[in-house]
Symmetry: C2
Amino acid sequence: MSETYRLVKTIRLAFRLARLRRMADKAAPDSSRRSERSRRAIFDAALALVGEVGYDKLTIEGIASRAGVGKQTIYRWWPSKAAVLLDAFTVGVEDYSAQGLPDTGDLAADLKAVLHATVDEFNDPAFQAPYRALAAAGANDEELSRTFVARLMEPGTRVYTDRLRAAQEAGEIADGVDLRIAAEMMLSPFSQRWLMRTGELTYDFVDTLVDQVLRGLRPRD
Amino acid sequence: MSETYRLVKTIRLAFRLARLRRMADKAAPDSSRRSERSRRAIFDAALALVGEVGYDKLTIEGIASRAGVGKQTIYRWWPSKAAVLLDAFTVGVEDYSAQGLPDTGDLAADLKAVLHATVDEFNDPAFQAPYRALAAAGANDEELSRTFVARLMEPGTRVYTDRLRAAQEAGEIADGVDLRIAAEMMLSPFSQRWLMRTGELTYDFVDTLVDQVLRGLRPRD
DNA sequence: AGCGAAACGAGACGAGGCGTCTCGTTCGGA
DNA sequence: TCCGAACGAGACGCCTCGTCTCGTTTCGCT
């Protein structure tokens, strides 16, 4: 019995060492040989499943089997289900922030127009499940949240600060206003309401919000 | 074999029915016989463990063993680890929102004073882990988030709207301003920065935020 | 004070997902 | 053309889940 125990212990140790060695090698699979077909199938499966069963019951096994893919293919390329979902979601959104906000010269109207579209987007069930899941996972996982913010939220905020800067240069916004904070005054109440369900996301809400924020930004005469 | 299978199936069915019946009965354990000692031990264990291992690795088994309590005692009274944590956390915070915001007549100073204290609180590691965990769990669990918001966030927001209303009645804030949205303009950028780690929580930040929000609320001459 | 029922601590149990490890098979780059 | 790496499939041991079953303790009622 003691003999067996020692053997088991030795084997375990060997495994642990092998694992450390592998982490040092950093695996490094050859991405030029990667199957694009599997990659897409995994994204589709992940997005579909998170909508159907929710994030907590989303499993790597489930994604693999739905995608018709071996589990190892997922483990080879992603460290966690959150990472899979982040990539899957990013693919579907990546071209979004390319063009920036419209600039018709009417700041309030431009902001309202874009935020109306965003209201619709955030009220779309297909969009909600993965985005909520990622935001939640990010709250507990600092590493993930850094990527999440850098890849999805930061670009979104930037188009607003850019538009506000244009308005400031046109004299519609007072000098000395902190544009980053101004953007947060508009966007954070929006995200907060949605994420924590503290209120409805309606056109009326964003209209009042935009007006009330801009009221404080205009130059005093 | 077919015989055995049928037997197993019958047993399973019986279990399922029993479960449904129990759910219909809604369990309804007798709360007058509940052990206060176990309840406190579970709260202490849950808060300690979530700080040590994080929410994802927090397990009911872990809480039970740390608290010196049977697993069933937890499952009897709470539906999930999130619910345990919510109760545990609420006990530690419940007297907080009783007294309302100070009213020295200087609105900006009052708001900054309270928000400085809140900055310190949200930068405290002992506070972070359970609060983050609950916010994240709430994002995916609508039922939980309703309780979370009603029990912790809504009372917190209300003290701000109350103080703003007093200021409005004193003529420091223009009529027609939506005070709920005004409060969100101050609080949401704060929570958002903290939860999603989109920025630092500093005294400077909240000072600028308060000034920039109040700037828009004052009556026009 | 004594009884009975219900909650309790402890832990066994089957289910199912984890992450790792084979297998052959397929497919892309030299 | 051929070598090797990535692939689909799935077996494996491990772990935690939520339920169920023991005796034991504790509380409310009589």
